[in-house]
Symmetry: C2
Subunit: 481 residues, 2 copies
């Protein structure tokens, strides 16, 4: 019988004492003899050069293996697998949105996003991959050890084996992180993936596409545009770091650093109890009507279907397009697939400010069409500005001007990061953390509440509280200690 | 600006110190001068006598205001409101279930189940209602202050005012409990209600259908057959009781009492960390395929539709019936409505045993067709035995014989309790908590894990972990201190 463990330390999946500390030590290691930064930079640049892919838009009729199904007109794969594009009708009184319909990706299965970690000289290192995705602005990004669909994971269809997947499927695996997290609610119908970190102790076979990096080394490049992919960011957002006392890396801004450290610790209080925050989220869900039903893709109002795209009639939101993907090398790699292409770069930002010396983030309770559970915790601002350009001032996203026009010295994090490149084409967002002061009063209301970093870290251990953009920003926040 | 509160005490919605203690003190008060037990018994008996209702099955064609809609054959209300009966097709590899279709209730809105509490002489009392529901075996049961649909709650449709609803809608309400919880996954499509406890301090207008009772007084009758209704039980399951040190009421079985007290406290360890339990639940969701889609009610395989019922061809599961409800008094109260009628009494039971002196409950990770999130934490046994009578031994529900044939001295709780009488007709279950010893080893597997009472109490603060039968049993467990 396993020994009894006490509960207070139990939020981390393993419950093993000192786990948070081990992650924090890894984050404080900004370089490593295992893969020195210079070697990493050269390796990553080499993979970007070597894995040039040409991604070309094509007419839907040139898709191979995909078709608009008779009857409902949904865009489906001949195998019945992968994903499909269907129609969705949503009705909600949230923000007076009313009724709309839209195309949406339907992939009713849970994939695995997983990082293998291993100690070298007492410091946890992550096995990271230089991985190409067709929708990425730079096709190769720094990716987790494994991104696997359920078919890869369970092996039911006997598809191509995903490298290192056995570390995640073994019943004797040592889980350090394991939770279901949602994907983009505006584009995906209730899609979730399993975010995992598994620790290994034995030898791991090397592979040229993979390198061992500390979390600090990943943090070093997370602030660069389009280097660290979304799947890496969402896994890192689930890491239960201990407060980095004595391991702070940010020498530039001691005042911010101190208020962030207090925010991470959970021992310095918060504007609201976590229970109050859960009640607030419950209130949004209960107060608003929200119904949705799938529609035939051929029956969408307000969207036009041409030979090579399904587009919104007012030029908002996104397009469904078809792409031909081919390797720019002699290797014979080529395929076609549908992609979702947002019409412009989005913005996703947290407004942050110290309250009684503890950094708080202004969290938006946001309803999105495909969210697993109606309303999730979102960044203060998360939008494509074009969607609002014709609306009156009172319907503009609140705080948009504040974060878009923020002075450079208020930016604690600022980078262009892209969403999942396997489904989304050039779907990048400007991610920002903007620190404000007394000029933004610490009031909140029905739609926005102030939370500490520790509260976000507590809730992300459970599924479905933070949306994927909020998780990207939580992962980014951890680079600013 | 509100004062900062610290996080450890934050799971209770208010975060107010001593809240758990106040609930425990109320539970330890088994009688009260406000409504002495003798007076309560007389009042409740009087309401049962005075509110006799005659509930008669009728043909569907005699329903007033309800019809089978053209096109899909769904059973709907003319107003488009209330609820509808639709078809559902489910496919899952969980327990090799494969594909099936069934009727299911669809009510895509969040109602409120709420109890108003108030201190009398320093002890919290609950404002409880003697309320009639047409499906109840005894039509009147002890019910929360408020059971309101979203229309009642928001007042959007201007329907009949629910008494005391203003205590739950006021922005200045003092919330002690507030969370979304799921309803019966076998009969309801992703239905949830908001479970609330609100504290008031001022005068509350009296009403003959309502009485103030301590939690101990409710506990006194919760073990009686069909007295305390499901809505009361699910709200009470969310109460964050403090460990009842010194306030124990159970004088009969000190050994059980001690192991239960240690199980409630969270300070005496547990077989698994809560993180491990969440990872186990994640694993079930990720490992199994699960898809569902609504179907026209007229297109169900394996169900037959006659003039007065929709029934399963093998006599399993439940029937959809129509009922005429009329008061047995001179008052003019009469209506008709559809109801779900299970084909027999079910059983819902936790197997419990001390592990290292701490009581653990054997929790089943159960997939139900209409569950909000595929798999929820369920009692060790929860079934209608008839559904399995023709299946081979290896497909029988595990532990069914153990809990059905348990010796009387192993029963820590044993009562027949019914599910929501507004939708379900004579849907009662035998609820049991069966204590076992060394003969049941403390092993668990992919489908069953041992948990402490404290762990269940921690998870129930979040939405969607415990199913409604597990919550009824958690509420019942609290009567056995």
């Amino acid at each position: 019988m396993p020994p009894l463990v006490s509960l207070p330390e139990a939020l981390a999946a393993s419950g093993s004492p000192g786990l948070g500390r081990r992650f924090t030590v890894s984050a404080s290691a900004t370089d490593s003899p295992v893969t020195p930064n210079a070697e990493f930079d050269a390796w990553f640049a080499r993979h970007r050069r070597a894995n040039r892919f040409k991604v070309t838009r094509i007419p839907f009729s040139d898709l191979v293996g995909w078709r608009f199904r008779e009857g409902d007109g949904n865009l489906v794969h001949d195998s019945g697998g992968f994903f499909s594009v269907t129609g969705l009708e949503v009705n909600t009184d949230w923000q007076d949105r009313g009724t709309w319909s839209q195309p949406i990706l339907d992939q009713p299965e849970i994939g695995v996003l997983g990082i293998v970690v291993k100690e070298f000289d007492g410091v946890l290192h992550c096995l990271m991959q230089a991985k190409m995705e067709p929708g990425n602005p730079e096709t190769v990004q720094l990716s987790p050890t494994v991104q696997a669909t359920r078919s890869n994971y369970t092996g039911v269809h006997g598809g191509r084996r995903t490298a290192y997947i056995e570390y995640f499927t073994s019943p004797r695996r040592t889980l350090l992180v394991d939770s279901l997290q949602s994907e983009q609610g505006a584009w995906f119908l209730q899609k979730r993936n399993r975010n995992m970190i598994v620790e290994v102790t034995g030898d791991v076979p090397p592979h040229d596409n993979f390198r061992w990096l500390t979390i600090g080394q990943i943090h070093r490049v997370l602030g660069q545009d389009n280097v660290v992919n979304m799947d890496t960011r969402t896994i890192l957002s689930c890491v239960p770091f201990e407060t980095p006392d004595g391991l702070i890396r940010n020498e530039v801004n001691p005042e911010y650093r101190e208020s962030l450290a207090r925010s991470l610790s959970g021992r310095h209080g918060s504007l609201h109890s976590t229970g109050e925050l859960l009640a607030w989220l419950t209130d949004i869900k209960a107060r608003h009507s929200f119904t949705r039903r799938t529609l035939p893709l051929s029956k969408l109002d307000g969207w036009s279907h041409s030979d090579d795209e399904i587009a919104h009639d007012e030029g908002k939101h996104f397009k469904v397009i078809a792409a031909d993907v081919r390797a720019d090398t002699r290797e014979v790699t080529r395929w076609t697939q549908p992609l979702i292409a947002p019409v412009e770069r989005g913005i996703a930002a947290f407004v942050a400010r110290p309250i009684d010396g503890v950094l708080h983030l202004l969290v938006h309770g946001k309803v999105e069409s495909g969210s697993f559970d109606t309303c999730e915790l979102a960044p203060t601002v998360q939008c494509l500005p074009v969607n609002y350009q014709d609306l009156p001032a009172h319907r503009q996203p609140r705080y948009l001007d504040l974060v878009r026009d923020a002075a450079p010295d208020a930016l604690r994090f600022d980078a262009v990061l892209s969403e999942e490149g396997g489904r989304f084409h050039h779907a990048d967002n400007r991610y920002r953390i903007v620190e404000v002061g007394e000029e933004v009063p610490p009031h909140d209301d029905q739609d926005y509440h102030w939370m500490t970093a520790h509260q976000l870290m507590t809730l992300v251990q459970h599924s479905r509280y933070l949306n994927v953009q909020a998780r990207s920003l939580l992962a980014s926040l951890h680079t600013t200690w």
